[in-house]
């Protein structure tokens, strides 16, 4: 089984073609999975895909930051492989989309040139959250089919006088008989040995690095914290509300299926202190999401499938993108109630964020100011694709447990608990 990677491609938009690009994306929007241009649904192993425009803006020094086309894919296996699949599948569709970018080759000769262009515009993703590393699109979809089949099986039979163990035995027989379900009797393959070795190295190496350079790193971190605190006292934020027009543009893309795509971009506060904080915090989050938050929960939030933080333009802008279950309101409430510290860690380096104390406190706990800040910085995710639009992260987790329960022996009590997954 493959691990998951985040593919991030960011390309500067030719200003004269910005409107045409938006129109091109709008054309793909009704059918992100199977449109003729860039069909995310035809890419095996693509969990989520999106295309959107990061608009041009002025940074805090008054310099212009160009508009960029952003393509994000959460995929099984390596992002490089996904890029190759994309080029092979979309073909001239790549030209149709990325041809609006400033430096796209005039008339690309073919796959190699397209691939080279996209490769050249890959952006590093220092922090990436995966709901359950190792769980592939195929597994998620198959386990949902398994659930449907088991539901239908138990509905079609009378088990009123059976024990839970009897029911389970009959279910096991049923799965063994059904050719289309027999795969479920095997546990899902685990992540490849090579990747696990890399994970292990990363797990150890980064803390070791901190320890090795401890005499330098720790005082530096303490000093940085102090400087941040002083800046926090000077920072000004104002409670501004998003415009109704902005909210309308965003909400017309929301709440069609089990989850939504969220994309937001913000300017980083001026000065090297905030740059240094982000350069520290993003790899730290990256380490945490890779090694600690790997079991269906991002620090207590169970409704996020994937999330990533992408610093751009020399760290002057940061993009945050996620795929979350339910409504934006409930997503925000989870943030505030469960992980305000985690959001503050990154977002408080952004201009206009509600006041924080010591980087962790305050901030997101100022409910309305925080919600309005996020909304104001949110971008329309014009093209957004999900490989399993009817499943919440909790649904997926329960389906995996259902399949896992086909293994081994169970006591009556264990069997009862397992059957309650249905």
């Amino acid at each position: 089984m493959a691990h998951q990677e985040a593919l991030t491609v960011v390309c500067p938009v030719d200003a004269t073609k910005a409107d045409a690009l938006q129109a091109c994306l709008e054309g793909m929007r009704p059918d992100p999975g199977h449109n003729a241009t860039l069909p995310f649904g035809l890419l095996p192993g693509c969990h989520f895909g999106r295309l959107l425009i990061l608009p041009a803006t002025q940074d805090l020094q008054g310099q212009t930051l160009d508009a960029h086309l952003v393509m994000l894919i959460d995929c099984d296996g390596s992002a490089q492989d996904m890029l190759e699949k994309l080029v092979a599948t979309a073909g001239a569709g790549i030209d149709a989309v990325f041809g609006h970018c400033r430096d796209y080759p005039r008339s690309p000769a073919g796959a190699a040139e397209r691939l080279a262009y996209l490769q050249g515009h890959r952006a590093p993703t220092p922090a990436n959250y995966v709901h359950r590393p190792g769980r592939t699109v195929e597994q998620i979809r198959n386990e949902a089919k398994l659930r449907d089949a088991l539901q239908a099986f138990v509905d079609a039979n009378d088990f009123s006088s059976s024990t839970a163990q009897d029911v389970r035995r009959r279910i096991l027989d049923f799965v063994a008989r059904e050719a289309s379900l027999q795969w479920a009797l095997q546990p899902p393959p685990s992540i490849g040995i090579a990747r696990r070795a890399l994970d292990l190295v990363d797990l150890v190496a980064r803390p070791l690095g901190v320890v090795a350079f401890g005499p330098v790193v720790l005082p530096a971190a303490a000093l940085l914290m102090l400087l941040v605190r002083l800046q926090e006292m000077r920072d000004r934020s104002e409670h501004l509300r998003p415009s109704p027009e902005h909210v309308r543009r965003l909400s017309e893309l929301e709440d069609f299926v089990a989850h939504n795509g969220f994309t937001a971009a913000g300017l980083v506060k001026r000065g090297w202190v905030r740059q240094a904080v982000l350069a520290t915090v993003l790899p730290l989050i990256g380490w945490g999401t890779r090694h600690l938050f790997t079991r269906d929960s991002l620090a207590g939030v169970k409704s996020i499938h994937f999330a990533r933080w992408i610093p751009l333009e020399g760290g002057r802008r940061v993009v945050f993108a996620s795929n979350y279950d339910g409504s934006l309101e409930s997503y925000n409430n989870d943030f505030i109630d469960l992980v305000s510290w985690g959001l503050n860690l990154v977002f408080s380096n952004g201009e206009g964020y509600p006041p924080t104390r010591w980087l962790l406190f305050g901030g997101a706990t100022y409910e309305q100011e925080f919600k309005d800040f996020l909304r104001r910085h949110q971008l329309p995710t014009t093209v957004w694709y999900s490989a399993y639009p009817h499943l919440s992260a909790v649904n997926i987790e329960r389906n995996a447990k259902l399949r896992a329960g086909l293994q081994g022996e169970m006591s009556e009590e264990e069997a009862q608990r397992w059957l309650r997954l249905l």
Binding site: Q231, G326, S327, H390
Partner: protein
């Protein structure tokens, strides 16, 4: 600039401290509610005044309407002890407030949901107002209905007195620049809603006004009335008025959060109103179909049991948590129960039962069964003040009329309270780990499912139709008494301010 001079630090600290205190310092102490300035509907549902009528009005002449309002204010019921003879309440839509001349700058301080209103492509999708509940079919509040400006609610102890009250009020509004565009008649107050269940049992208690037996239902005043600390210890955004606007300084309280502006929102609340049509025949027929004996005969016991599981309470109101096996009128008002420790898996009261979805108490993340879960729950409570309409349908009788509930909810933050409950708890087919199961009573799916956990297997019903559809709705703001006086004294020039 990353550097700051060290000598600036004390001044910075002081300034920062003041700013945060003024704007953002969470307030933990309870505050006394100015109940004489709050419309009394916040505190009571008028059980002693069983007859009620909702009148939807439109302003035709602003100056005359303000004159009407100036006199009406004195008749409006407040939070102080209620009259036994009548009660009158008044609320406005966003357009209604603008029509009366509220400065646009002030009106922009209302919440986005109130400004946008209940009708719009996204909001309809969000609230489940699709199909037969689509606002284009509504009898009021929809795009094909006249614009709504105000809601006048009248209560009286008898039908005759209600009629007299209505006539007297109609005389006043029609003489002074308003027309009634729709009237909703209700049926005399009855304990049981049309599906046969006692309704409205669980209501939050307002801190600083009500007494509550435990912390389970005690909610901070700012969740229901603007201008008081909410469950975050913060002040929900309020519409403010420049002190320079004539009549503002005379009537409106100052902004509690410390700005120099006057607070138009203080002691006001948002009123959500929806006409929910109940399909009693479909409800009964579906229960019958799902519980028939193999020989096709009716099984009344199973039918009552399934209905109770779908609701989460028995017809008397007795909750399944404290009375799992049969109805028990002695437990009809039980409301201090919780879910997590008593019934984590929904074996007594199904996870998908209506009352367990509408108010999950301690059942949800972050830590079910703890104060942390209750703290989250308190941020999603509403005061329910609805009344029934249409006649009761006796079992087996021919259905010849429309019936249902005029749902009325009061809250300070529509999106976090009413809309969140409606969308994320009641409608979401994936609520709390469920799979394709919207609320069995009010859910928005045409092909709904419902499961009651059991041993060895759950009992699962599929193909449930919608039993409740929406026939009208709007968001209103119910201002405090002083704010109403201020409105009545607005001059046309105020709008420029």
């Amino acid at each position: 600039m990353a550097t700051i001079a060290l000598r600036d630090v004390p001044a910075l600290l002081r300034r920062k401290h003041q700013e945060i205190r003024r704007r953002l310092q969470p307030v933990r102490q309870p505050s006394q509610i100015e109940s004489e300035d709050v419309q009394g509907l916040v505190f009571r549902g008028y059980g002693g005044l069983p007859h009620c009528r909702y009148v939807l009005l439109q302003v035709r002449d602003a100056a005359e309407a303000r004159h009407w309002l100036a006199a009406l204010v004195e008749r409006i019921s407040r939070g102080t002890p209620a009259s036994r003879e009548q009660a009158i309440h008044l609320a406005f839509t966003y357009r209604g407030l603008l029509a009366l001349g509220l400065p646009a700058k002030t009106a922009q301080g209302f919440s986005a949901e109130f400004i946008a209103g209940m009708v719009g492509p996204h909001r309809s999708r969000f609230l489940g107002d699709v199909g037969e509940s689509d606002p284009k079919h509504w009898s009021w509040g929809g795009p094909n209905n006249p614009a709504l400006h105000a809601l006048l609610i009248l209560y009286a102890p008898s039908e005759a007195k209600l009629r007299a009250l209505y006539e007297a009020e109609r005389e006043a509004w029609s003489r002074e620049g308003l027309v009634d565009v729709h009237t909703l008649h209700t049926s005399p107050l009855s304990e049981r809603e049309h599906f046969g269940f006692v309704d409205g049992i669980s209501q939050p208690a307002i801190e600083g006004y009500h007494k509550a037996p435990s912390g389970l239902h005690l909610v901070r005043a700012g969740e229901f009335v603007l201008g008081y600390p909410n469950e975050y210890g913060l002040y929900t955004a309020r519409p403010l008025v420049d002190s320079s606007v004539p009549a503002a300084a005379a009537h409106l309280p100052s902004d509690i959060a410390g700005s120099t502006q006057r607070d138009f929102g203080r002691n006001g609340t948002y009123l959500v109103m929806r006409q929910l049509r109940q399909d009693v025949v479909a409800f009964r027929a579906t229960l019958e179909r799902l519980t028939q004996n193999p020989d096709g005969s009716s099984n009344p016991e199973e039918k009552a049991r399934l209905a109770a599981q779908m609701v989460g309470r028995w017809p008397s109101g007795a909750p399944l948590i404290t009375s799992p096996w049969q109805d028990d009128a002695g437990k009809a008002k039980d409301n201090e129960f919780r879910y997590h420790h008593e019934d984590p898996e929904g074996l007594l009261c199904p996870i998908g039962a209506h009352v367990r979805r509408a108010n999950p108490r301690d059942a949800l993340a972050p830590e079910p069964g703890t104060e942390k879960s209750l703290a989250v729950n308190r941020r999603h409570r509403i005061l329910r003040r609805g009344r029934l309409y249409g006649s009761e349908l006796p079992e087996g009788a021919v259905d010849d009329a429309e019936r249902g509930l005029i749902f009325v909810a009061l809250n300070a933050n529509i999106v976090r309270q009413f809309e969140f409950i409606q969308h994320s708890w009641l409608m979401d087919p994936r609520f709390n780990g469920l799979y394709g199961a919207s609320d069995p009573i009010t859910g928005g799916l045409d092909d709904n499912a419902f499961s009651a956990p059991g041993n060895p297997l759950r009992a699962r019903c599929t193909g449930l139709p919608r039993f409740v559809s929406v026939a009208g709705g709007a968001y209103f703001f119910m201002p405090g008494i002083r704010a109403l006086r201020f409105l009545s004294e607005l001059s046309p020039s105020s709008q420029e301010s």
